[in-house]
């Protein structure tokens, strides 16, 4: 039981790490969503072959190389070139780049699933292209892509654990440090898993609610 009391003393630190993880996930989500929407819109509406080629290469590179390699490239690689990012910023930048590639694919398939008539009807009632995108196409596309988006968000929260590899003081990193200092290995890792589950399961439930809400609206 003495072990357990030691462990209870560690819990606040772990929870603080969980908060850091959520902060990183939130910043990444905002950046990646913005990036994903821009890329998806460009891919759907631009006619430029060069632009398609460049965006295609970016998406394939980001999607087929492990996130860990991206983080190492940004954290260690950029500092070699003289750009020293703090670890948390490197993690956010790396995860956002990967995320915008993943979300670009998701949003693009959402946009392309819409009928051409949506766009034409928008033009017919005199909306500008930005207005059509903003008021007609994107809201519908986002609704279609909600399940895939939900998957991405849960994956993202889990992927923040990779940031521990570049010493971002999030929950996984703190847990590894605590293990080496207290030797409460199984208790700490069990607690970490439970904390992750407690962060991720509500997200899943929330998205299912959201899907139902939109489903009934349709």
């Amino acid at each position: 039981m003495a072990n357990f009391e030691v462990f209870l003393g560690l819990l606040p630190l772990l929870l603080k790490g969980a908060l850091t993880a959520l902060e990183i996930a939130l910043c990444t989500l905002l950046l990646a969503s913005a990036g994903g929407v821009v890329l998806a819109v460009l891919l759907t509406f631009s006619r430029s072959r060069v632009l398609h080629g460049v965006i295609g290469c970016f998406i394939e590179w980001m999607r087929n190389v492990p996130a860990l390699a991206h983080l190492f490239l940004i954290y260690f690689g950029l500092s070699y070139l003289g750009i020293n990012l703090p670890a948390w910023l490197a993690a956010i930048v790396g995860l956002s780049l990967v995320g915008s590639a993943v979300l670009a694919d998701i949003f693009r398939s959402g946009l392309q699933s819409l009928h051409v008539g949506q766009h034409e009807a928008g033009l017919a009632v005199g909306l500008s292209r930005m207005q059509i995108l903003h008021c007609i196409l994107l809201p519908q596309a986002l609704r279609v892509t909600l399940p895939a988006f939900a998957n991405y968000v849960t994956q993202l929260v889990k992927d923040t654990s990779i940031a521990s590899a570049i010493a971002v003081p999030e929950i996984m990193f703190l847990a590894r440090n605590l293990v080496t200092s207290t030797f409460q290995t199984s208790l700490i890792y069990l607690a970490v898993m439970c904390i992750y589950a407690a962060m991720i399961l509500p997200i899943g439930v929330g998205f299912i609610r959201l899907e139902r809400h939109f489903g009934s609206a349709r």
Binding site: E60, T154, T160, T185, Y189, G204
Partner: protein
């Protein structure tokens, strides 16, 4: 820019040998993880379709918990926490098992989705013409269901391949660990991690493309059948 690339010829033979060695371990790890994921995934589907409520609950619980926990946490737990319970795994085996356990949850969903996509009339018709349930499954259901499963299974392999890079953090001698060792010896992180990214890309990209091509191919087949 040019001076950046001039570093490569200097170290080329040393790096390539070590990275190829790492790539072999990465390939082994990811293939073993994938095989384990497919076997476990199939068992999970069987459990979910069995009449036993307990089995169903257990399978669902397993899948949910695997999806709620990061792979890295699972790997660290397998590698560092299991020994205190009396089971010591090498980094290599902890990695393969961790990849397999987490992959199984995803593979189970793919297999289930593939089976559910078929109309139940297929099975009923097969039984009606006198096939045994097993024969109906192997000759009628599976060949059709597998078309839908193949593309997402390929994607699942690609994700296991990428995730295997995390095994570097539990001291498995795979591609990423080899890269990290080289980077810290030579102080050329940008060069090494770009190269190692290319290694992963060269394996993963063709598979991703194949998955996309297969998906298009199979969905085109379906349309013509519908007429």
């Amino acid at each position: 820019m040019i001076s950046f690339f001039q570093q490569y010829p200097v170290y080329w033979s040393d790096w390539i040998a070590r990275l190829l060695l790492g790539a072999r371990i990465t390939a082994e790890l990811s293939l073993m993880g994938f095989a384990l994921a497919v076997v476990l995934g199939a068992l999970l589907v069987c459990a979910m379709r069995s009449p036993s409520v307990i089995l169903k609950r257990l399978a669902t619980f397993f899948i949910q918990s695997m999806r709620a926990v990061p792979l890295l946490a699972l790997l660290l737990a397998l590698y560092f926490a299991l020994p205190s319970l009396g089971l010591t795994l090498s980094g290599y085996w902890a990695g393969a098992i961790g990849l397999g356990l987490q992959g199984a949850a995803y593979v189970a969903e793919i297999l289930r989705g593939g089976l559910d996509s078929l109309h139940r009339g297929q099975r009923e018709a097969a039984i009606a013409i006198g096939l045994t349930p097993l024969k109906a499954f192997t000759t009628v259901i599976l060949p059709q269901a597998i078309r839908g499963m193949l593309p997402p299974l390929l994607n699942a392999y690609v994700s296991i391949l990428k995730d295997s890079s995390l095994c570097a953090l539990i001291a498995t001698d795979e591609l990423m660990l080899a890269a990290r060792a080289i980077a810290s010896e030579t102080f050329l992180p940008m060069h090494v991690f770009l190269l190692v990214g290319l290694f992963y890309f060269v394996i993963a990209f063709p598979l991703s493309m194949l998955s996309r091509v297969l998906e298009k191919h199979f969905s085109r087949g379906r349309k013509t059948v519908r007429g």
